[in-house]
């Protein structure tokens, strides 16, 4: 009993416990995921546009990008992009004379870039589906009203596209928070998984700390599911149910 009590005590706030580390871990995981998601959304928009535009080469490029990223394990891609990114960036900096040899690249940036590039491929297909779901007649009507390309996009396509793809967007957000755990394999940046791993290997109480880590992740997922569910409802307000 005493042992169990001391185990719970290690989850305390402050110097003696991991409580505050886990709490900070939630913030860091959400921060990494959010930054990566924003990058991924940008890439996804570009990807969706290149897959749907009338230039053959761009269609092909988009196709290759999504196919390759989707058929290679995320773990592998994160390690590859992390090493490639950090070593390229450091050699560029050294080459420009901006840094000394053996400069340390901030692992945060590399990790966010890696997740962003991976999820860009998934969001490309989600957003492409959303664009394609917008009824053709509405776009033709907008053209007939004399709206030019960008205005058509902002007024007609974008609002409906978001509604059609909101389920997919929510799912990918859930996946990105979970895949951010792979970050702990390349760099301990203080995210939930890194904290849990550090705590478990230091104390050797694997069940307790990995259990705690899992619960923290479940809280993050649960809240995300609730929020995305609400957003979905909101996006579909005013739409008659089939």
């Amino acid at each position: 009993m005493a042992a169990a009590q001391s185990l719970w005590a290690t989850l305390a706030w402050g110097e003696t416990g991991y409580g505050d580390e886990f709490f900070k871990g939630i913030y860091i995981t959400l921060f990494i995921s959010a930054c990566a998601y924003i990058i991924a959304f940008g890439i996804g928009m570009l990807g969706a546009w290149s897959k749907l535009c009338h230039v053959r080469a761009l269609n092909r490029a988009g196709e290759v990008y999504t196919t390759v990223v989707r058929s290679v394990p995320e773990l592998l891609l994160i390690i590859l992009i992390f090493y490639a990114g950090t070593s390229t960036l450091s050699s560029v900096l050294v080459g420009l004379g901006l840094a000394e040899r053996g400069v340390e690249i901030n692992p945060f940036g590399a990790v966010i870039a890696a997740l962003g590039i991976i999820y860009g491929a998934y969001l490309t297909d989600v957003l492409r589906g959303g664009i394609q779901a917008v009824p053709k007649g509405q776009i033709e009507a907008a053209k007939a009203f004399g709206m030019h390309g960008p205005r058509r996009f902002v007024r007609i396509i974008l609002p409906q596209m978001i509604r059609y793809s909101i389920t997919g967007l929510g799912n990918q957000w859930l996946n990105i928070t979970k895949d951010s755990a792979f970050v702990s394999v390349v760099a301990a940046v203080g995210d939930i998984m890194s904290v849990g791993r550090g705590a478990a290997t230091q104390t050797k109480h694997f069940i307790f700390y990995y259990g705690a880590t899992a619960i923290v992740f479940m809280i993050v997922s649960g809240v995300s599911m609730y929020v995305t569910g609400r957003l979905e409802k909101r996006a579909n307000r005013g739409v008659r149910r089939a």
Partner: protein, 242 residues
């Protein structure tokens, strides 16, 4: 640290292809066990008895709400903490990460497929079940002869994309000392410091495997859905793509 295609093709790829059977073994075993476990999970989830549906729902939420990395670590290190030392020494297979990986992958698959199967069971046309009941089949007979086969066919496209995801997730087993494709690539990488050769090589192996597997699963889907596909109007078979 430069990419050296000749080294990759002559040295890395043969070693990775030699361990590809292990990756396939992980995928197939976990897919068979996990998909079989998914049936009781889905049934428990649909049962009106709260003693059944609450645990099933909690199980599904745990599997879907936490990263696979943490599930694997929890099982591998957690069971390692529980199993006493004399047992570890007496039965050396208990030290092998492979069994823990298969166990974790199976549970993960059971959670994901359980939820998919639940939706599919609900989508089985009610008239068919009523007809079977009218023929005097017992509830169990109706389930095994009508509901389950129909449900599996309904969720087949989702299940085959889950299998692709499973193949990719097996790479995480490399973190618990399973020397499948990713694990072997990592050990070569650590030994030789060749980051690009090993990781790109592993990426190529996964890409080709996923490509072949996708084709194979599409073929199975077409075979099983022969009578459900629309009458082909041209020589080209209708693509059953989601």
């Amino acid at each position: 640290m430069k990419f050296d295609p000749i080294y990759m093709i002559t040295v890395v790829l043969p070693q990775l292809i030699a361990v590809l059977p292990l990756t396939l073994l992980l995928t197939i075993t976990s897919s068979v066990i996990g998909n079989s476990l998914a049936v009781p999970v889905a049934l428990a989830r649909l049962n009106p008895n709260p003693l059944l549906w609450i645990p099933a729902r909690a199980f599904i939420f745990t599997m879907r709400g936490t990263p696979f990395l943490i599930q694997l670590f929890f099982i591998y290190y957690g069971l390692g903490e529980l199993i006493p030392g004399w047992m570890m020494r007496g039965y050396p297979f208990l030290k092998n990460g492979l069994y823990y990986a298969i166990f974790a992958l199976s549970l993960n698959t059971a959670g994901y497929t359980g939820e998919i199967l639940r939706g599919a069971i609900l989508a089985v046309p009610h008239g068919e079940i009523e007809a079977a009941r009218a023929f005097g089949m017992s509830r169990a007979q109706v389930f095994w002869r009508i509901t389950l086969p129909r449900a599996v066919r309904i969720c087949l496209p989702t299940m085959s994309s889950e299998t692709i995801l499973l193949l990719k997730v097996t790479s995480v087993a490399s973190l618990v000392t399973v020397y499948e494709v990713m694990g072997t690539a990592t050990s070569i990488r650590v030994d030789t410091y060749r980051v690009y050769d090993t990781l790109i090589g592993a990426g190529i192996v996964y890409f080709v495997t996923v490509f072949v597997l996708t084709r194979g699963l599409n073929w199975v889907e077409r075979k099983l859905n022969k009578d459900r596909l629309a009458i082909p109007t041209s020589d080209k078979p209708a693509q059953a793509q989601a």
